[in-house]
């Protein structure tokens, strides 16, 4: 019993060492090390086909790794799969709910499968439906749910057994921004309640929003890891976009920023096509300083905006090259969803 906890509150809930999983020639996971500290969110960031889903499938006993070790809550994925399954919850692109059952029936069934009594299973289902704002839709077949509701039901389903470790495999891929925010809110509240989360994502923004630490993987290997802020600094932070009221002022504005010599501000450029000035920044203080300075000098600003580096920019900054997808050419160079299909097919090769 005691082995289930990693003794103290600051231990690692997940420890992966040298994990390898190949499908024929495809090195889906090729020697990955990572740790997830208890009660934190580890973001695993990488493009399609980087090996994220294979990693999660190894850690949830759906695939047997070829080499390396992985323990979750102290249980070995290969030697103690049954005990391990008692400690995990999985919400993934592929692990899903039964579309033909209603939301309530799905949650009740999972409760019963997790050895709750009929009464407890019913109570737990209602509690989670309420919490994930699905009470109204509880009686409808899951097939009729919207994308966001499906994802919330998935999350609720993986929470029934109060798992120590939750895997969220690209939880917001394919969702619109509003529903994506809903899912993020749910994940945050699960983390507040103490859940340990391993989150895979293709989106820098999602990692930034949810993760305490980040592991960046590409072609089955870890290419960078660290706290989100560390990596952000490495990548160069955000881009501040300033839109002058008159497009004619673009170049004057760039000149003013260069002249002002603000701390750490360099490389402002005018984008005449979009009518904005782009300024790389790494902190909110720099943002205020730039905008304040422009105001003092009498510029009229009609809009400001910041945007995070895209995954491609992150890769560029870390490795000095584009993501393997963009750089490889050949068969990997297909559109993203085609890549998805390929990924899935590789997963289907029997172990």
């Amino acid at each position: 019993m005691t082995r289930k906890t990693t003794s103290n509150g600051a231990g690692n809930a997940v420890e992966v060492r040298g994990l390898v999983k190949h499908f024929g020639e495809v090195k889906a996971v090729d020697g990955v090390d990572l740790d997830v500290r208890e009660g934190t969110v580890l973001g695993v960031l990488g493009p399609n086909g980087a090996g994220k889903t294979t990693l999660v499938r190894c850690l949830s006993t759906l695939l047997v790794p070829d080499a390396g070790t992985a323990t979750v809550a102290g249980f070995d994925v290969v030697r103690q799969p049954r005990a391990l399954r008692r400690t995990i919850g999985l919400t993934g692109q592929y692990a899903s709910v039964d579309e033909k059952l209603s939301g309530r029936e799905n949650l009740y069934m999972i409760g019963r499968l997790l050895d709750l009594s009929r009464k407890d299973a019913r109570a737990r289902a209602d509690e989670l439906l309420e919490r994930f704002s699905l009470t109204e839709a509880a009686g409808r077949a899951a097939a009729k749910y919207s994308g966001g509701m499906r994802r919330r039901l998935d999350l609720a389903a993986s929470m029934i057994g109060r798992p120590a470790v939750l895997y969220l495999d690209e939880p917001t891929t394919g969702l619109d921004p509003r529903t994506r925010n809903e899912v993020w809110d749910e994940v945050r509240s699960m983390v507040r309640d103490g859940a340990t989360v391993l989150l895979t994502t293709q989106y820098m923004e999602e990692a930034e929003q949810l993760a305490h630490e980040l592991t960046v993987i590409d072609r089955g290997r870890v290419i960078a890891e660290g706290e989100v802020d560390e990596l952000k600094t490495k990548v160069g932070g955000r881009t501040l976009q300033i839109r002058p009221a008159q497009a004619a002022e673009l170049d004057r504005m760039v000149g003013a920023i260069a002249q002002a010599g603000l701390d750490g501000i360099a490389g402002a450029t005018a984008d005449h096509e979009d009518g904005v000035v782009n300024v790389p920044i790494v902190s909110d203080e720099q943002l205020s300083a730039v905008v304040g300075m422009l105001g003092e000098r009498g510029f009229t600003i009609s809009g400001i905006n910041t945007h995070l580096p895209s995954l491609d920019e992150v890769f560029l900054a870390i490795t000095g090259q584009k993501t393997s997808e963009a750089a490889d050419g050949g068969p990997q160079d297909g559109p993203r969803d085609q890549q998805d299909v390929q990924d899935k097919q590789y997963e289907e090769v029997p172990a």
Partner: protein, 280 residues
């Protein structure tokens, strides 16, 4: 959902369960929860019962009223003679038709990803398949009841008693449920539900028609007659016929059918479960 319950990774489990072994009682509980799932699916999607409901009606009406007149004559009677010939045959055939639908059902489940969730949960993996088998047997029973009600409506003449009738039904259900394991294995092996159905039909048609179900094999050429003799469906049809019409040997076809049932289950159930465990 208090913070404490989620935060503590070592949520207390039942004593002795920490190695994750799944006991018999848990096994039964999992199976019954999954039977309930499959039954709910039918309730939410009643169209999925159409095959079980309509097949016996369509087959009975077609064969009795299209071929019945001609066939009855060669059996030395009229259409009603063929009713008594074909009904035990259709009883034997029903299980195979229903069992075939399991294959595409299992395949569909996998493509939807709900199986991934089951397989990351601490449940006996065989219970997923056992539940499916039990629900399909239930569908076979419904189908059989419809067949018999219709049979009596159009003049089937039970020459023996209700016990013999029950024995024939039980034998057909037992054999039919053993067939579900074959189709589950097929469903787990093939890539799409359509492929499962295609292969299913290819196996199904020769087995159904190359048997004593629709016509007496004595009227067939030697090689075909030889095929029907080794076809387990012929044995089952002969057994049902002997039990319901009171003609011919009972013990031999019954025993052979039971042997087939046991053999198929012993070979294909473990194979299907093993395939299910290993499927990635």
């Amino acid at each position: 959902m208090s913070a404490a319950t989620v935060a503590a990774p070592g949520k207390p489990q039942r004593p002795g369960a920490d190695e994750g072994r799944i006991g018999l009682r848990a096994h039964l509980r999992h199976t019954s929860a999954l039977v309930r799932r499959n039954a709910m699916q039918i309730k939410n999607d009643p169209e999925s019962m159409f095959d079980a409901l309509l097949m016996p009606i369509v087959f009975t009406l077609l064969f009795v009223y299209v071929f019945g007149g001609a066939m009855g004559g060669s059996l030395g009677g009229d259409r009603s003679a063929y009713v008594n010939y074909i009904i035990p045959g259709l009883l034997a055939m029903g299980g195979l038709n229903i069992a075939m639908s399991v294959g595409s059902g299992v395949n569909d489940d996998f493509n939807k990803g709900v199986m991934d969730r089951f397989r990351t949960m601490p449940i006996a993996r065989s219970s997923v398949l056992t539940a499916k088998m039990l629900v399909e047997s239930g569908r076979m029973l419904v189908s059989t009841v419809i067949l018999l009600v219709l049979a009596f409506l159009i003049g089937f003449d039970l020459k023996t008693g209700p016990l013999e009738l029950l024995a024939a039904v039980a034998l057909a259900l037992l054999f039919g449920s053993s067939l579900t394991w074959i189709f589950m294995l097929l469903g787990l092996t093939m890539k799409t539900p359509q492929a499962v159905q295609g292969v299913g039909f290819m196996v199904l048609m020769p087995l159904q028609f190359g048997s004593s179900i629709f016509a007496p094999p004595t009227t067939m050429p030697g090689w075909m007659e030889a095929f029907t003799k080794v076809n387990p469906l012929s044995n089952l049809a002969d057994a049902a016929r002997a039990l319901m019409n009171g003609q011919g040997a009972v013990a031999q076809p019954v025993l052979i059918t039971l042997a087939w049932t046991a053999g198929i289950t012993l070979v294909f159930a473990p194979l299907a479960v093993a395939k299910f465990r290993k499927k990635t």
